[in-house]
């Protein structure tokens, strides 16, 4: 069991290999092979995550830090003490993330096999999806901020690639898709800037980026608490100090500290009610690997991760110091260049920078504008990346850094306000949209606002809970909308198949009509230039799909009810927990943020129910408003099966964290209700996850508001009144609500404001710089200085130096030889007589030379 954690690197390896195969051999594979490779890689990660879950439950939730074999030590610069290992952290928080990421991811892979059928880049789509999964798992399993950032950027790239997946659609569609991709990427860059600053500041302050180090316990109080339960001796002591003493006094033979109760191992919590049973149970399983440590008393400051260090420093008094482990004294003061700052200030800054990062990735005000545009991507991408998983990365980062957020109340208030406002604003905009996916996109922004607000009020467990339930029902809704769009397109095709048989053949459709879905419209547009533009995502064209697409309808309805927070669907529990927590934070803890969050979120919850029911009425109820809707078929099994699975989970997933204090609703099942399973489970990793008690009043208000919103939406849109006769929204037609509706429809002019405030000036500055570049740099510097200077130098080299000196020398040598030979050739007269004289003279000379010694004697 101990070694089961070592499978963690496979989490990344499987999808990476899947992506690699589809990248390299994708074009040669047929659709079936590509889809199977992609889906199997995704499914394999789910089983790895399941294995890690088993590991945790079997090991008393003891977190594991895994060093992948080939990447031992990642970035290491010993001279400056920089050491960032490539480590994966297996703890309750990361496993929670892995579980729903891989589960939803696998389902969406299967769905995409049906949805993307006929796409010319089918295999590449699966490669991108697998690559996304790999990066997302790096993000959630990394044990340091830098690894998280690697995953963070990686998923951003995949998001960019997938939003712009249909970059080559004709008629300007492709450009729009590419622009949406760029918008997403650029908005995220702004956020990444914040993450980087938070990262730098964290490293500067704590000298490390590790979340936790080996042997460190994330939440000593929680483990200490368990120790009490296991020993059942000290009834009320649950402080860290007490936990320490236990750790020392009860070391068993294996040299390990004592265990804990094991009801949790069975996936149950440890509420007060089940305490009695745990003792004997706990003893039996003691032989397994108990947590080696239940607190961090054995670790010095330097041996702690960033959160442990932050916690240690923030609790120092002014002037008090702490031995770091190597003799250096650590105080509250942080020296940053020429400035000094209190640790509180630094943490506040880190939190604000992280908030900026989360605002980018998790689409909060002011950076949320990219997410609605991101719907340009294929629907499975919207479901996986832009609803269920990637966009929750910001929330994950904040929950992971809960120690920072908890210790920065002012910054947390900002977080609350940002989250609550985003929830409200996005909910408002969603009410005025026509595009089925755009409504869901704004809904996602709004729900992410809920999570961020939950982080702001300190309800970290509730944020994760809502993230998890939201992943299921929002993925369900997106996949449902994809099914609807698919059906509409097929209906539209069907229509034209009957209208124009010649055209039908030209389209080259296969027999059952599952043609290349996006190429489809374009071909039609080409074939029927006069035909009006048909938008399969426009809810005005829909209506009455209930009978055409029954499975999609029922699952969509479940998703809607879950999102609207109707009892007992998943959204009810998670949304209610956030609302209850904010109510508690306001009323009992007296935090202003609690009141703000409650007010904003309850209004947003009302809007949620309203716009979702508006959508149900427009899409599924009433009568078909377009011929395509009349002929929309139900989708293929690859698409409906994931819908059904997700629908089942959307109903039941809320039960994993049922709050306590539920009163008469519990129907005497106190042993089941009030368990806070997820929160308790998260508490092993999240220091400040606290279980929100059930508050009957809050639940009542929320439920009543939810039903009221649905009732209201039903009154306005129900009974085939979804559109007025002139094709307007009833709210648009109403004089009182018209302006508000117009504001929502125009997306509150958010993009236009950015256009005016940032993009316009930016473009003007760019133009100015371009002018400077062209006129000054290019024309003057480039042409006059560089070109002319170069020409001058070249001329100097060519004329005097090359032609003058070098050529002169060479020619001079030649001329010298010529002149000299001219002299010599005169001897060659051609007159035989002259040669004869020369011969004679030569002979005489030789004779004289021969005779000279004789004559001298």
């Amino acid at each position: 069991m101990q070694n089961l954690a070592l499978i963690a690197p496979l989490l990344i390896l499987f999808p990476a290999v899947g992506a690699f195969i589809n990248f390299v051999w994708g074009p040669k594979l047929n659709e079936r092979a590509s889809a199977i490779i992609g889906s199997v890689a995704a499914g394999a990660t789910f089983f790895v995550a399941l294995g890690l879950l088993t590991y945790l439950t079997g090991n008393f939730y003891q977190p594991a830090i895994v060093n992948p074999p080939l990447l031992d030590g990642w970035i290491r610069i010993p001279s400056v003490g920089l050491e960032i290992p490539w480590q994966q952290r297996i703890d309750t928080l990361s496993v929670t993330m892995m579980m729903f990421v891989t589960f939803v991811g696998t389902l969406i892979h299967i769905y995409a096999a049906g949805y993307m059928h006929g796409d010319k880049r089918f295999s590449r789509f699966f490669a991108y999806l697998n690559m996304f999964l790999a990066f997302m798992l790096i993000l959630v399993s990394g044990n340091n901020l830098l690894m998280m950032f690697v995953g963070w950027e990686g998923v951003g790239v995949c998001s960019y690639l997938l939003i712009g997946f249909w970059w080559d659609k004709p008629n300007g569609e492709g450009i729009k898709n590419s622009n949406a991709a760029r918008k997403a990427f650029i908005a995220n860059r702004v956020g990444d800037f914040g993450v980087l600053l938070a990262l730098f500041l964290t490293f500067w302050t704590f000298g490390s980026l590790d979340f936790f180090k080996q042997g460190e316990v994330a939440n000593p109080a929680h483990y200490g608490h368990l120790v009490h339960e296991g020993e059942a001796s000290h009834a009320e002591e649950a402080t860290t100090a007490e936990g320490e003493s236990h750790g020392e006094e009860a070391v068993p033979a294996e040299g390990e500290a004592h265990g804990e109760e094991t009801t949790a191992a069975e996936g149950e919590g440890h509420g007060e009610e089940v305490m009695a049973a745990t003792e004997s149970h706990g003893e039996e399983v003691m032989a397994a690997t108990e947590p080696e440590y239940v607190d961090n008393a054995h670790l010095t400051y330097n041996e702690l991760g960033i959160f442990g260090k932050a916690e240690a420093r923030i609790h120092l008094a002014d002037g008090e110091t702490l031995d770091a482990g190597d003799g250096t004294q650590i105080s509250r003061t942080v020296v940053i260049g020429p400035w000094t700052a209190d640790i509180q200030t630094v943490i506040t800054l880190i939190v604000l920078f992280m908030l900026l990062g989360a605002a980018g990735k998790s689409a909060q005000i002011p950076l949320f504008v990219w997410l609605p545009d991101a719907m340009a991507g294929p629907t499975p991408v919207s479901a996986l990346i832009h609803a269920a998983t990637m966009v929750t990365a910001g929330v994950y980062m904040m929950v992971r850094s809960n120690t920072f957020f908890y210790n920065a109340p002012e910054a947390s208030l900002v977080v609350t306000i940002i989250g609550g406002t985003t929830a409200l604003v996005a909910g408002f905009i969603a009410m005025g949209q026509w595009d089925i996916k755009r409504v869901l996109a704004y809904s996602t922004v709004s729900q992410l606002g809920f999570m961020v607000a939950a982080v702001g009020i300190g309800a970290y467990g509730a944020a994760i809970f809502h993230m998890m339930t939201h992943a299921f029902f929002k993925a369900l809704l997106f996949l449902g909308s994809g099914s609807v769009i698919h059906g509409m397109e097929h209906g539209h095709h069907h229509l034209h198949g009957h209208d124009d048989h010649g055209g039908h053949d030209d389209h080259g459709h296969d027999s059952h009509g599952h043609d290349d879905k996006h190429g489809h419209d374009d071909k039609h547009t080409a074939a029927h230039a006069v035909e009006e533009k048909f938008d399969p995502q426009d809810m005005r064209n829909m209506g009455g799909l209930r009978s055409k697409m029954p499975i999609t309808y029922v699952t969509y309805l479940i998703g809607t009810l879950a999102l609207a927070g109707i009892f007992p669907f998943a959204g009810f529990w998670s949304k209610d927990e956030i609302l209850a927590d904010s109510w508690f934070a306001g009323v009992f803890d007296g935090k202003i943020g609690g009141y703000i969050a409650f007010a904003l979120l309850i209004a947003a919850a009302f809007m949620t129910a309203f716009y979702m029911w508006r959508q149900i009425e427009m899409v599924f109820h009433g009568e078909a408003r377009h011929e395509a809707a009349k002929h929309a078929p139900e989708s293929v099994w690859q698409m409906t099966v994931p819908l059904i699975i997700l629908a089942v989970f959307s109903v039941f997933i809320g039960f994993i964290n049922i709050p306590s204090g539920i009163g008469f609703f519990s129907l005497g099942l106190d042993g089941v209700f009030g368990l806070h399973t997820l929160t308790n489970w998260l508490e092993y990793s999240v220091l400040h996850a606290h279980a929100g008690e059930f508050n009957g009043l809050v639940a009542l208000i929320a439920t009543v508001l939810g039903f009221a919103a649905i009732f209201l939406a039903n009154r306005i849109y129900g009974g085939n009144k979804a559109l007025t006769n002139d094709g307007r929204d009833p709210l648009q037609a109403n004089a009182a609500t018209g302006p508000f509706w117009a504001l929502a429809n125009a997306r509150m002019y958010w993009d236009e404001t950015y256009q005016r405030l940032f993009i316009g000036p930016f473009q003007r500055i760019s133009q100015l710089l371009a002018d400077i570049d062209w006129n000054f740099w290019h024309d003057y510097v480039h042409d006059s200085v560089i070109t002319r200077g170069f020409n001058g130098a070249a001329k100097l080299l060519s004329e005097p130096v090359d032609q003058g000196l070098i050529d002169g020398t060479v020619n001079g040598v030649g001329r010298l030889v010529k002149w000299f030979s001219g002299l010599l050739r005169r001897a060659q007269t051609g007159y035989v007589r002259v040669y004869a004289v020369a011969l004679l003279v030569g002979v005489v000379a030789v004779i004289v030379l021969m005779l000279l010694p004789v004559l001298r004697g």
Binding site: L824, T829, G830, Y831, R833, A836
Partner: protein, 100 residues
Amino acid sequence: MVQTEAYVILSMVLFAIGTLGVLLRRNAIIVFMSVELMLNAANLALVAFSRQWQGVDGQLFTFFVMTVAAAEVAVGLALIVAIFRTKQSINIDELHTMEG
């Protein structure tokens, strides 16, 4: 008995006449005859020394020279005839196309 010196002197005179004839005359035939004169001057000297030393080497060598001279005359006269045919003259000063 005539002194060997006399033969040698006569040989020198003949050789000088031949040399001057080669160098100064322009008629190819004359030049040719002058060359013959030089050869025969050499022959005379060879024969004179042969008698002086009572050996036959000089006389033998003379025969060779006469044979070569005969061959030379055959080639040389043929050349002269060829030159005359092309130039209508046997003035060797007109033959300087090999000038450098």
